[in-house]
Symmetry: C2
Subunit: 197 residues, 2 copies
């Protein structure tokens, strides 16, 4: 949609993306992004009003390139509620590594910068909706565990699937992605499904 129009802008976004993705030892500064974009630091401000907006635009660019919304939505068409839960956990889990670099930078900013907070919440709303939808399916089928309200279940699933939890298990504790996905699916099954078949 909005891509392809402005080559410099896109070069900046790609540079920011790859710097954030690779981590490159610590915080990514405006001057780093400028250097990687082969542009002066000041010129960044001709394209983005501030660092927060640049990061936000990077996230959107990422979502656009990977068609996150499309992929996540697609995962919801699986057959039964429990299959949908499995598919949903997998779809989102596979997406986390892709956005992790950018997400980390945005998470770090959201404590200070209200705009970054808003952007983060906006980006996370698709995931929240996915959680709610899956839980609603389970509820409709009577497969949702008795002790959780629909809202509680959605909150809990969202927390379970948070980037932070992924970070803790995958990065800090060194789990493989496959192990993470499998155990999250199993944990979700046991936590939310009425019958543990």
């Amino acid at each position: 949609m909005s891509s392809e129009k402005n080559p410099t802008r896109e070069r900046i976004l790609k540079a920011a993306w790859s710097l954030l993705e690779s981590g490159e030892g610590g915080a990514v500064r405006m001057s780093d992004i400028a250097k990687a974009s082969k542009i002066s630091r000041q010129a960044l401000y001709l394209h983005f009003p501030n660092r927060a907006d640049l990061l936000i635009a990077t996230t959107r660019y990422l979502d656009e390139v990977h068609d996150i919304d499309g992929r996540l939505t697609k995962s919801r068409k699986a057959g039964s509620g429990s299959a949908r839960l499995r598919a949903w956990v997998e779809a989102w889990s596979e997406y986390i590594p892709v956005i992790y670099g950018v997400a980390k930078a945005l998470m770090a900013m959201k404590d200070d910068d209200p705009e970054a907070l808003a952007a983060w919440n906006d980006r996370m709303s698709a995931v929240r909706e996915g959680c709610s939808a899956v839980v609603a399916d389970l509820k409709a089928e009577g497969a949702l565990v008795g002790h959780l309200s629909e809202e509680e279940a959605a909150d809990l699933l969202f927390a379970l699937l948070s980037v932070r939890t992924w970070e803790e298990l995958r990065i800090e504790r060194g789990w493989t992605q496959a192990r993470y996905v499998n155990l999250m699916q199993e944990t979700a099954r046991r936590t939310f499904l009425k019958l543990n078949s």
Copy 2:
């Protein structure tokens, strides 16, 4: 132990603690702590070499005052493995709100500052050990679910009980502390125990 000796130092720690606890809209600066301690900013550096060390000392002071290690250890003497799991989840859950302010500041620093990272890991090691111990009990009783190794179970429990997850549910989603504790106990039960009685 180390308290009571140096009144100014303790005044600083108390000031830092209360500022961090109340959040007070955003990051707590050295000058904020100085003002709250009724001391000059520079004098802070006579007591602590840098901000990271001050925050770390604040955490230790907090642990000392609340006797976290004692309390956490005590929770492990419940009867059965499942009772111990419940008690452990509750003990740590009740402690999170106490340390939340300081923890948040330390978590924000640990991306940049390796000393802050080390301090955070050090402080969390007690919790990790608790998780491992509880899981080991379950395993010994044959109550641990089959699809998880002892290490995986400990990692997962630790992630489930992370400050970030508490923050997400309690602060972001507005859960009450009681609801958080109950649902975490239930979730832990369903996730880790073989028989869902």
